[in-house]
């Protein structure tokens, strides 16, 4: 149980930091709304609703990338990560807590983004919402993990999208499938499978990212 107490404490630290500094969430919100406006003008008139559904997923992915790129910046700038690694807690707790925090930011951004999307383009069904929730888990789990690697490299912010996008292709497939297909069940199941597989992999290997 101390494991979850550690995770809770670490996640609360990130949420509290965001609440006080308001670095990430306003940027994500502004970005996602601006993206929708860009999409409106990049979709030719009379293009189908299906095209807009696809673009929703592009917007979610890039908004998430914006947040994930910031996720480990405080750790890097204040050298918090050294302290966390020295602390007597399981290293995977660091990843889990950070994932939960980024998931909270992404979820909060989507609470605004999805109604705005419905207002600008077309309504959103329950399957899409379920798809977004499942996809968010995968995006944050894998993205946080890769973000921790990316901040330790020379290329830093440049590297995260390159590392992340090939791994995010299955998420987009599952998400778009859940939004546009007649029977979204198997796409949702696929997203859940992705979450479980990559979640376990991240959980098991995070230790090697922060230690030598």
């Amino acid at each position: 149980m101390t494991y979850f107490a550690d995770v809770g404490a670490l996640a609360r630290k990130d949420l509290l930091l965001e609440l006080r500094a308001r670095d990430t969430l306003p940027a994500m919100l502004l970005f996602v709304v601006a993206t929708f406006v860009v999409f409106h003008f990049s979709l030719p008139a009379h293009s189908s609703q299906l095209a807009a559904s696809g673009l929703l997923w592009v917007a979610i992915l890039f908004t998430a990338l914006l947040g994930l790129g910031r996720a480990f910046v405080p750790e890097r700038e204040q050298r918090v990560l050294d302290g966390l690694v020295l602390a007597p807690c399981d290293r995977s707790a660091i990843w889990l807590a950070k994932s939960i925090a980024t998931l909270a930011f992404l979820g909060a951004a989507e609470l605004v983004a999805l109604p705005v999307f419905a207002l600008f383009f077309h309504g959103i069904g329950a399957a899409t919402v379920a798809g977004v929730v499942l996809a968010d888990i995968g995006i944050c789990a894998v993205g946080t993990f890769l973000g921790a690697m990316a901040v330790a490299t020379r290329a830093r912010d440049l590297l995260l999208p390159l590392l992340f996008l090939p791994l995010a292709i299955p998420i987009v497939v599952g998400g778009v499938g859940a939004s546009v297909a007649g029977s979204p069940g198997r796409y949702l199941a696929f997203l859940a499978l992705y979450d479980v597989l990559f979640g376990l992999l991240c959980w098991a290997t995070f230790e090697y990212v922060v230690t030598e």
């Binding site: 330790a152 490299t153 590297l159 297909a181």
Partner: protein
Amino acid sequence: MRVVSRLSRVPLPALAVASLVLMTVALTLVFYVAPNDADQGFSQRIFYFHVSIAFTAYACFAAGAWKALRHLWKRDPGADLESYVAVHQGVIFGTLVLLTGSIWAKISWGHWWLWGEDELVLFLVLFLFYCAYFMLRFSVDPGPQRANFSAVYALFGVVLIPVSFLAIRIAKSFVHPEVFTLHGPNFGGWILVTYCVAQAALLLLAYTLYRVELTGKRLDARIRELRFA
């Protein structure tokens, strides 16, 4: 495992000669012995190489992940370099899969690229993924951290292969409704023999190239060590 450890003791020149001989036999079989395909005629022969190269690329990625696991788990010295070289060979063979697949698609369907062809799309995703592997590896200074990052990312690769394959399969129903069905070739006789020889030749070629690169890289590291000693 015992086969691999025995193979690793075979001297490099012998390996090179063996892969040259086997490759020549495979080329002869593919172009002179295997029968023409009833549907696609002569162009179908690229399949012997396309499929074998694809399998070889998977084998390289799997070997890279296996070495990565050895590095993380047992801390095998040298496993990091072996993993990197295997992934490097995998990317070379993966590029060849994309090339041979494009040529075949152009001849069969008149387009250089087909989103309906599962394996081509999968290799495009893998190509992007493993290119990012190189970006990651070369933006970290050599040392334990680079070895860990590379190993972890290589492990992500082997999980991504089946997941992406599944994704591409299920994406077809909404991205690409018409499904190409290849009438399975009558797998028997000379076709099977030719395929098996081509497969063996390419696997041996990949292993030889792997050993060549590994030897070069080790020599490089040794020289650097001596220079700074």
